[in-house]
Amino acid sequence: MAEAIARGKLIPPYLLSTPALLLYCALLLTPMLMTFLLSFNSFDLYTGIKPDYSLANYLEVIQDKYFHVIFLRTFGMALVVTLICALLGAPEAYILNRMANPWKSLFLLAVLGPLLISVVVRTLGWALLFGKEGAINQTLMGLGLVDEPVKLIFTSTGVVIALVHVLVPFMVISVWASLQKLDPATERAGLSLGASQFTVLRRVVVPQVMPGVLSGSLIVFALTASAFATPAILGGRRLKVVATTAYDEYLNTLNWPLGAAIAILLLVANVIIITSYNRVIEKKYAEAFG
């Protein structure tokens, strides 16, 4: 009887989640499955997509230097953006957390506010700032700091700056969450034991918010590696990343199978990097934080 009750209790949750599951399958899994199948088809410039199956697309990406550069650039950029976001976002969250209330809410809103604006709009804003005649260059030249305009638009520096701006709120939120679990008395305990403010920060606070920094890094890394709008607008035609390359294959070359293969490879690479990173971290923090 107990079993029957237990089973009876289990069924409603499944039933209740069915509509969401169905939607999820229809809208996410189906297109992904179709992309996956498409990536094995071949493509002919004159006849289009042919319904045969081979690994040719994958081999092409894996063997071609052109794609290597794009993949390396993408993940290199993701790494740099993640590092900068961690270096900016963690102290930002810490300072925000220590502010008194009217300011705290105000600054938090300022940090998270950009999330409310479309990426495209924000990126176009950056494009205006970065341009040869843009505000940044006019200021720099006006101040006499540089003689000729600094090249920011269509460079990786420009893309990285804009991506950091887009993604730093995710780091702040993630570190913020782990700061809420930090007992402020541990900082006082450190001080009372003779540690300087800086030592307390380094040995007591940072290790405790590290899980937040690391999970924030995961989010930022994954979002950068698959970012599309920012590199497309600020990187231009030549500074390609994986996502923009897949897009070009789809829309310019019309080689959908190759684009699909690139997209799948990006997904697989992302999943591998993130899960192995996660595994390492879990091992490191399992003991102290459970």
Binding site: D183, S192, F289
Partner: protein, 355 residues
């Protein structure tokens, strides 16, 4: 000269006075409890001694040195926080070792001192555990070891036992007192538990609304409270309001309603309206004719080693509590006489706003 001296400490938060003119002298090696109801300013006082709150007025001296402006990290005071505040990412050993690392103690000596202190709190075998793998009582002892290992001149304990359940708490009280005696550190314990304060300390300092009301040895404070607040905060008491009507041979006559009681003129006031107080264990039950007045037993509660009676009397409900001496006790509803030995009646100044 006293070792730790608080001189006219005041702490204001805006208009609110959290600590109001607190002066206290603590001898070297002494164990003083700071006792008072929630929000009376105990933690704030402790934080000022520790250096985490700046006094609005007043000075703090340790061993004759004025430390009022010294940074918390330079004071060399050991603190056990109410939440323990163990470093969750460090093992027990690393937690205890932290203070010694900050003092640049060489590794060999550091190891020896950490293990010695862990043995003192009976946690020698737990050095490699992490805080979350310990019970509340064990965490509390790690916090104590972490504070003691630096051999602080003063040890501050902020309700260190309040998170523990009753049984462990009693064990820890005895253990904490034992450790404090062994180490001989000057200690201030903050608590709102009167039995904890009475059982552990050399002296109790009773606080109310930011002020120190009475500082005395536990027995003295309990037996000779100076105000009705102390009398009711340290244990229970039966209170009557009356007016002094006369005085002879060191005895006061106090009129309470229709009756007149004698009391010894002690520390309290000698004239005008007063408060009389009798502890429940000093309120004796007799045959109806033999008492100072009579009452009726309303409820009778058996608590194993003693009985507690709630008695309806002309002066309102009274409490009496007596040892279970194996004799059949009076039954509920029975009429009893109520009396006390003259020297057990305390005369106190009435408190503002309370009868």
């Amino acid at each position: 000269m006293s070792f730790l001296r608080l001189q006219g400490l005041v702490k204001r938060f805006g208009d609110f006075v959290a600590v109001d003119d607190v002066s206290l002298e603590v001898e070297k090696g002494e164990f003083v409890s700071l006792l008072g109801p929630s929000g009376c300013g105990k933690t704030t006082t402790l934080q000022m001694i520790a250096g985490f709150e700046e006094p609005s007025e007043g000075r703090i001296y340790i061993d004759g040195k004025d430390i009022t402006g010294v940074k918390a990290s330079q004071r060399g005071i050991g603190i056990v926080f109410q939440s323990y505040a163990l470093f969750p990412h460090m093992s027990v050993f690393q937690n205890v070792s932290f203070g010694l690392e900050m003092r640049k103690v060489a590794e060999a000596e550091r190891k020896a001192r950490v293990m010695e202190t862990l043995d003192l709190v009976h946690l020698g075998d737990f050095a490699h555990r992490f805080p979350r793998e310990l019970s509340g009582g064990q965490q509390q002892r790690v916090a104590l070891a972490r504070a003691l290992v630096i051999k602080p001149e003063v040890l501050l304990l902020d309700e260190p036992l309040s998170a523990l359940d009753a049984k462990i708490r009693e064990d820890m009280q005895i253990e904490l007192r034992g450790i404090q005696r062994t180490v001989g550190t000057t200690t201030i314990l903050v608590t709102h538990d009167q039995s904890e304060a009475l059982s552990m300390s050399d002296r109790v300092a009773v606080m109310n609304e930011g002020r120190l009301v009475q500082v005395d040895m536990p027995y003295q404070a309990y037996e000779f409270p100076e105000t009705p607040f102390v009398s009711s905060f340290l244990g229970k008491s039966n209170k009557f309001s009356g007016v002094v009507s006369g005085q002879s041979n060191g005895k006061l006559k106090v009129k309470v309603g229709e009756l007149e009681f004698e009391a010894e003129a002690g520390r309290g006031p000698c004239e005008g309206p007063v408060h009389l107080s009798v502890r429940p264990e000093k309120l004796l039950l007799t045959a109806p004719a033999e008492g100072r007045f009579t009452g009726r037993v309303h409820t009778r509660i058996f608590l194993g080693n003693h009985w507690v009676y709630q008695i309806d009397s002309p002066f309102g409900p009274l409490l009496a509590s007596h040892h279970n001496a194996g004799i059949q006790s009076v039954a509920e509803g029975e009429e009893v006489g109520l009396t006390w030995a003259v020297e057990e009646l305390r005369v106190l100044a009435p408190e503002a706003g309370d009868g």
